[in-house]
């Protein structure tokens, strides 16, 4: 009973944090939120095969009972995909920040928390000058 309660609470807390963060207006909290959501779903997928302690998934000579091996395979796939996706979102947000000069999700800078302090033109000029150094970028 206590293990189910623990897992369920963990999934719930992670989902709650994930939804809250992914509704924020700046890309960094959103990235964190999406990551939290994927952690929550990994735990959830792991739990769908029912929680069993000390039971082997495939084969053991002296096993009285087995745990379902399929959810573990599904979790593995989900982890790989969500890990790759998180990396993509991080790179994409960074690139968007460098391109637009703001980390607001809608691309409109919020004057109250604008990291550039309104000096956008100068910043973009400086960005363009250093662009090749920062990203190793080559255009076809």
């Amino acid at each position: 009973m206590s293990m189910e309660f623990l897992i369920a609470t963990a999934i719930g807390a992670l989902t709650w944090a994930g939804i809250y963060l992914s509704l924020r207006g700046r890309t960094f909290p959103v990235v964190l939120g999406v990551t939290m959501l994927s952690y929550a779903i990994n735990l959830f997928l792991f739990a769908i095969g029912r929680l069993k302690v000390g039971a082997p998934p495939i084969f053991s000579e002296d096993a009285a009972t087995y745990t379902d091996p399929l959810p573990q395979a599904l979790v593995l796939t989900a982890i790989v995909i969500s890990f790759g996706m998180s990396a993509l979102v991080v790179v994409l947000s960074l690139r968007t920040f460098l391109e637009t000069g703001t980390d607001q999700v809608d691309g409109e800078p919020d004057p109250a928390i604008d990291p550039l302090d309104g000096d956008r033109e100068e910043w973009i000029a400086r960005r363009n000058a250093h662009r090749i150094d920062m990203l190793g970028e080559t255009r076809p």
């Binding site: 992914s22 890309t27 959103v30 999406v34 959501l37 994927s38 779903i41 959830f44 997928l45 769908i48 095969g49 029912r50 929680l51 069993k52 379902d68 399929l70 959810p71 599904l74 796939t77 989900a78 995909i81 969500s82 790759g84 996706m85 993509l88 979102v89 994409l92 947000s93 690139r95 968007t96 391109e99 637009t100 999700v105 809608d106 691309g107 076809p140």
Partner: protein, 517 residues
């Protein structure tokens, strides 16, 4: 297994729409820097070959029951199966012709030169879409969704620029959340039924105890919500206009088929596995989507926005027909589906040519100086508008007529008729206003840039190809509707699907999955 080699090859043709793009994508990746023409040739050749394969599969599917293809020869439900039936073959053919037109268009307009990886990503996109249409396994469907989404992230950012990146981030985050929800639904369904094979899940879902049935339907509704997100159904449509109008129009033309992946998944899973659970939600949402889409066309300031909203509206029309969930409704939907996809892709390609040939003002709906090739574009835009709004003489008219006819049996017939007819009028007004402003009014003040490329008429060939397909769909409406009626009957014949995939109409071994530990 005493099959001859030719039998084996013929059976393996089912896997070809997945194998071929993955091979072509890898080959294009090798040639992408040094021999760009070779990469483009491989890509276009692969899409052309996919058209031939799809035709062969369509001919085969129209003569037989659903045919499973067991990957690695592991029988369903233990291994992953691909299932070829009439619905899958119809969607494969549609994907391959649109893919062929868009790949050719991208090569002719040199869109593929704006980044290194256009053709490889394009092929992986087709791989994901084809796989989603063929698979008979829900988790495998998730994996193919991810493949097509990952490729679409690459395509939507192709060419880059600040606006494209901002909308790209939104698109990626929305779809990541959608994928998470997909896994939630899958998790619930697996937890209840203990299987991921669609046919097996259908058989076991029907035998569930009363208590588990609610959980099962909840999982199903979560999945349908995810599919509705892909199909841009109200209120889950918000990601689409900005993403599609800020990416390259040729890419958006290919993406016209992505909303249909969502619609396809609803057609595939709902009658088979979940029954009529989603009916009361889908129909009002689809009607709202039509209104929103076509009203959005009227409000659009750019041609690309307009095409994007038109895509939303026409997908809504399609979902109305699907939401009827009877033979006539599905048959009408399956006739309207290729029409609306090709029409939207055609309009996006035409808009791309307008942006390129006009040289000023981008895609804004404003008068500009006279430009070369305007009369051809005006004709293409007129044809695209006629197709999208569903006017005669093109196939959209027949499609809408079939949908209205099928809706007569529904208790909501008055609503469906009213919404579809009034919104068609709104779409006509919006398209006429945009067309006359862009092509008939002239304003000589903006200077044409000196260095703009002269229009090359050959660039219009892929658009003309799509137009020819629409004409073909109109001329051969008889055989096409006969095929879609057969398809609808096959989709609704659940026992046939179970027999074909599992060999029996009941699950092979009842498990103790439902028992709590």
């Amino acid at each position: 297994m005493s099959l001859s080699i030719s039998d084996n090859l013929a059976a393996s043709l089912i896997a070809a729409p997945i194998m071929l793009p993955s091979l072509a994508g890898t080959m294009a990746l090798i040639f992408r820097r040094r021999r760009r023409m070779v990469a483009a040739g491989i890509s276009i050749g692969s899409t052309a070959l996919q058209v031939l394969i799809a035709v062969a599969l369509l001919l085969r599917a129209s003569q037989s029951d659903p045919t499973p293809y067991a990957m690695g020869d592991w029988p369903a439900p233990f291994g992953i199966v691909l299932v070829l039936d009439q619905l899958a073959a119809w969607m494969l053919l549609l994907t391959s012709v649109v893919g062929f037109a868009v790949a050719t268009h991208a090569a002719l307009t040199k869109l593929d030169r704006k980044g290194w990886n256009f053709h490889p990503i394009f092929q992986f996109q087709l791989l994901g879409i084809n796989g989603a249409f063929l698979t008979g396994d829900l988790f495998n469907l998730f994996v193919f969704f991810e493949v097509l989404l990952i490729a679409s992230y690459g395509l939507i950012l192709h060419g880059q620029g600040a606006r494209r990146l901002t909308s790209g981030v939104q698109y990626v985050v929305v779809n990541l959340t959608g994928s998470t929800l997909f896994l939630v639904g899958l998790g619930i369904l697996y937890g209840v039924t203990g299987t991921l094979n669609m046919a097996d899940m259908a058989a076991r879902g029907a035998q569930l105890a009363q208590g588990d049935r609610g959980l099962f339907l909840a999982g199903g509704l979560v999945l349908i919500a995810v599919f509705a997100l892909k199909a841009a159904l109200l209120p889950l449509h918000l990601w689409l206009p900005r993403a599609y109008s800020s990416t390259a129009p040729a890419v958006a033309a290919l993406f016209a088929i992505m909303t249909k992946v969502g619609a396809y998944s609803i057609i595939r899973t709902t009658p088979l596995i979940f029954g009529d659970v989603a009916e009361p939600i889908l129909l009002p949402a689809a009607l709202g989507t039509i209104i929103l889409g076509f009203a959005g066309m009227l409000a659009a300031r750019g041609l690309r926005d307009m095409a994007a909203f038109g895509l939303i509206g026409s997908t809504g029309t399609l979902l109305v027909a699907i939401a009827l969930f009877d033979g006539d409704g599905l048959a009408a939907a399956l006739y309207y589906l290729p029409h609306t996809t090709i029409a939207a892709a055609f309009l996006f390609l035409t808009v791309d040519l307008v942006v390129r040939w006009r040289g000023v003002e981008g895609d804004a709906i404003v008068p500009t100086p006279r430009f070369a090739g305007a009369s051809l574009l005006a004709f293409l835009f007129l044809a695209g508008g006629v197709a999208l709004a569903g006017l005669p003489p093109l196939s959209g008219f027949f499609g809408k007529l079939l949908i209205l006819d099928a809706a007569l049996a529904s208790p909501q017939a008055a609503w469906i008729w009213g919404v579809i007819l009034v919104t068609s009028l709104i779409a006509v007004v919006a398209l006429a206003r945009a067309g006359s402003t862009v092509f008939w009014k002239h304003d000589e003040t903006p200077e044409l840039p000196e260095d703009r490329d002269p229009p090359r008429l050959v660039q219009a060939l892929p658009s003309l190809f799509l137009l020819a397909l629409l004409v073909g769909l109109t001329v051969f409406a008889g055989p096409a509707t006969r095929y879609t009626q057969g398809t609808a009957a096959q989709v609704l014949d659940t026992p046939l699907y179970l027999r074909s995939v599992l060999g029996t109409a009941s699950p092979p071994s009842p498990t103790a999955q439902g028992d709590a530990p």
